[in-house]
């Protein structure tokens, strides 16, 4: 335990870090409510929803509504796939099987290969095969190479702490493997499954490096934002940032509440 002065210093460092972490986002959230004549920085020139309104006018930026729809659909697809695939693989990885080591290293490699290279590789693959890249095919696969390893690592952490005797008890009472999974294992690990879903959704919702060269003609929201950063010089960019952050916070909040409810139901 450090001394009193050191603890104060560490506390101050932590406070400063929080300010560093949240200050900028908070600033652009405030600035997104600039009045119609306001600029990119303070002072605030009145308070309005003008820039949020501008988001939905087609001439201000690209077709944001369509981009948002695509992004949410893609995030939903990625979330569902990530949950199911990493859950299944996590169950299998509890025992060693032929090929398990190779598959494990491949999964870790998927985290290490830079996003842009995955994007480029898939882009080239579709190009050479003369397939049409699209958000629901190439970009979908590109995002899975990022979300699945996270999902699987969470499953590892979950099953390291999992009490096998519940499952054995179920089997002793005559449950089939499917029954013991559905009625015993899944309810116990449900909060972590919500966690995997949270990873899947937010990682997909904010991803741009992996979709950059794989999304084809239909942009996702982060790609629209990336394009806007060089061309748009009004607070409309901040308004878009506020909307995007709000969606993220809604999802995080929903997931945290979901986990709490599930824990409560189990009475722990």
């Amino acid at each position: 335990m450090p001394g009193r002065v050191a603890r104060l210093l560490l506390g101050a460092l932590f406070g400063a870090f929080m300010l560093f972490l949240y200050g900028p986002t908070l600033t652009i959230t405030i600035l997104s409510f600039q009045g119609p004549d306001g600029g990119l920085t303070f002072p605030m020139n009145g308070v309005s929803l003008h820039w949020f309104g501008r988001l939905f006018q087609p001439q201000a930026v690209g077709d944001l509504g369509a981009a948002m729809t695509r992004t949410l659909l893609l995030a939903a697809m990625v979330t569902a796939t990530t949950v199911v695939v990493s859950l299944a693989a996590g169950m299998a990885f509890r025992r060693r099987f032929a090929g398990s080591t190779v598959l494990f290293y491949l999964t870790v490699a998927s985290l290490i290969v830079p996003s842009l290279l995955v994007s480029l590789g898939i882009g080239l693959m579709f190009n050479l095969m003369e397939w049409e890249p699209a958000w629901y095919s190439s970009a979908f696969g590109a995002q899975l190479t990022w979300t699945l390893p996270f999902g699987l690592l969470i499953m590892f952490a979950v099953f390291n702490r999992f009490d096998r005797s519940w499952e054995e008890a179920a089997r002793d009472m005559g449950a089939t493997p499917w029954q013991s999974f559905w009625h015993v294992v899944l309810p116990i690990i449900a909060p972590s499954v919500v966690g995997i879903a949270l990873f899947g959704f937010t990682l997909s919702f904010d991803e741009f490096a992996r979709t950059l060269l794989t999304a084809g003609s239909g942009n996702t929201l982060p790609l629209e934002i990336l394009g806007m950063t060089t061309t748009v010089t009004t607070p409309v960019l901040y308004a878009l940032g506020t909307v995007s952050t709000a969606v993220s916070f809604l999802v995080i909040g929903g997931a945290l509440i979901g986990m709490r409810l599930m824990r409560k139901r189990r009475g722990i």
Partner: protein
């Protein structure tokens, strides 16, 4: 039938990784040997792409710059991340408060990196908050130009984006340290720094290793942060690749991709030699 279970359960994972990771990376290697002209790819086996890569001083500078960004970001995020994790694990005593503070540290991970970069613009710009505050205080007369669109702002954004990748694994390993070891160290007469150096640091090494791998890999593969925060005045290998892709110079981009991948793998391998992270999994 049950013997087939593991393969059925992992088949989707294996399929996704094969189609969207293995084949594409193989594709990068193949295309890096292709020839090309202004209009099309020419399947061939030529070494010109690598020759250009190795003989161009600009390319060398870009690789060095990428290593420079990764090195500085690594040092700063480790410095900050270690003490933030230390504070959470050893100074904060209340378990609920610790959890709340930890979640606060991780929430930005779930929000958009692009937005978090853009959020620095009103702070650092020529007429931004920092400059007007400093001028208002009389500390400076002219606005500081180096704040935005410089190496400084690039590194600042990297630190802002990636410090939590250090905090989380280091905090995890610290929480697993048996508190009795710290008491034993104190009983044996060790001071704060001795305990830190001889007990906590060695036991935290795997967490530091994982955090370092994340940070270094993310920075080395980056293109957007460098483009946005340097305003086009600095370069990284990732940015060079995305520019070459934009100019349809696919084989050149692929050769650079192979170069970048090798660089990343070398760094990761070096780190794995220093710390054994398999114990962590």
């Amino acid at each position: 039938m049950t013997r087939l279970f593991p393969w059925i359960q992992t088949a989707p994972l294996a399929l996704v990784l094969a189609v969207f990771l293995l084949v594409p990376v193989g594709m990068l290697v193949v295309v890096s040997f292709y020839d090309y002209d202004a209009f099309s790819l020419i399947p061939a086996f030529v070494l010109t792409n690598y020759q250009e890569l190795f003989t161009s001083p600009v390319t060398w500078q870009t690789y060095l710059k990428t290593i420079y960004f990764a090195g500085i970001t690594w040092a700063v995020t480790l410095g900050i991340g270690f003490w933030i994790a230390y504070h959470l694990a050893f100074v904060v005593q209340n378990a609920t408060l610790r959890m709340v503070l930890f979640i606060l540290c991780t929430v930005p991970f779930w929000t958009s990196n692009l937005i978090r970069m853009i959020a620095w613009v009103p702070f650092l710009g020529r007429n931004g908050i920092l400059n007007s505050t400093l001028i208002g205080m009389g500390a400076i007369e002219q606005p500081l130009e180096f704040l935005l669109f410089s190496d400084f702002s690039v590194i600042l954004a990297f630190v802002h984006l990636y410090t939590l990748f250090m905090v989380v694994p280091i905090f995890n390993t610290m929480m697993r340290i048996d508190r009795r070891l710290l008491e034993a160290a104190r009983d044996a007469g060790a001071g704060f720094w001795q305990t830190l150096w001889c007990v906590i640091l060695p036991l935290t090494k795997p967490g530091i290793g994982i955090g370092s791998i994340f940070v270094v890999v993310l920075v080395m593969g980056d293109f957007a942060t460098v483009r946005l925060m340097s305003g086009g005045q600095s370069a990284s290998v990732g940015l060079m690749i995305s520019n070459q892709y934009g100019a349809m110079q696919y084989p050149a981009a692929a050769a650079n991709a192979v170069g970048l991948l090798l660089m990343v793998l070398l760094v990761v391998a070096a780190m794995l030699r220093i710390v054994d992270i398999r114990r962590e999994l």
